[in-house]
């Protein structure tokens, strides 16, 4: 093993117990940036671990601080980007006003919670994956951009190079289809679906 490989292995052994935890923490932030946040945080931790002894008991608290700082760095980069692109078709003004992506558990549009139960409570990750994978690629693409990454219709129009009206109708068709798939799969798995959810 080369010196570098040994050094990387030592870092990996040290940080490995925290990977999953860190990933989950990052997943609570804005879906657009959560992978970047994970990677940046880990790289900072690796650099730190090179010069200092890590204490496994305090490592998570420390990682959390690094993650917060990194989320601010990403935020200011996003703000700069929005400034640069101010005269472009796509404006990120709304995004630029967000104070801190770390505090944004899920995008605002999904905040509204409800106490009412639906069959979705019993839908697990396997069913979600099955339903999404069964959709046409074109629908998977809009679901990724619209539901998971939270891009606006104008942004999606630019990314996919299609008119904004087409985005609206494609989002609508994709999500109706997804919902239909979920209901069908739920029934297949013996999950009770209420009449009004059909």
């Amino acid at each position: 093993m080369s010196e570098r490989d040994e050094y990387f292995k030592r870092l990996d052994d040290l940080l490995q117990p925290n990977y999953e935890w860190l990933r989950n923490e990052c997943r609570k932030t804005n879906p657009k940036y959560r992978d970047e946040l994970f990677q940046e945080t880990l790289v900072r931790a690796m650099k730190y671990a090179k010069n200092y002894e890590f204490d496994q008991d305090s490592i998570r608290g420390w990682l959390k601080v690094v993650m917060k700082n990194q989320s601010r760095t990403i935020n200011s980069a996003v703000r700069k980007e929005s400034f640069k692109r101010a005269d472009n078709v796509v404006t990120f003004t709304e995004e630029a006003e967000e104070s801190d992506i770390f505090d944004e558990i899920v995008p605002e549009k999904y905040w509204q919670q409800s106490a009412e139960d639906t069959f979705m409570g019993e839908i697990d990750d396997d069913i979600i994956n099955k339903a999404l994978n069964s959709l046409d690629e074109e629908f998977q693409d809009v679901i990724r951009l619209n539901m998971i990454q939270g891009f606006t219709y104008a942004e999606i129009a630019e990314i996919l190079n299609i008119p904004q009206n087409t985005v609206g109708s494609r989002v609508s068709r994709a999500r109706k289809k997804l919902r239909k798939q979920l209901i069908e799969l739920a029934k297949e798995y013996g999950i009770k679906v209420k009449d009004e959810e059909k």
Binding site: P31, Q39, R144
Partner: protein, 80 residues
């Protein structure tokens, strides 16, 4: 009373949830939802679907892949 009936509200459900609607349309839907239990149930279901999709593992980059990328970034940054 909202000027929008259930069909029209359901037609605009995703634009509403994605905050893509003009203020006047949004107000009409808010008014309709205040009175209509069945449409409200539809909106709740759609929101729950969205939450599940966001937190699902579908299309996520795996932890291994992210860790590997981090090591590559570390190598690159240390070379500079």
């Amino acid at each position: 009373m909202s000027l929008f009936d259930c069909n029209l509200v359901m037609e605009k459900i995703y634009e509403y949830l994605d905050q893509e609607l003009a203020e006047t349309d949004k107000e009409q839907i808010d008014q309709h939802l205040a009175d209509c239990n069945s449409c409200r149930a539809e909106f709740v279901l759609e929101q729950q679907i969205t939450q599940k999709i966001i937190s699902s593992s579908w299309n996520q980059i795996s932890i291994d892949e992210l860790v590997q990328r981090s090591f590559m970034q570390l190598s690159a940054e240390e070379e500079n």
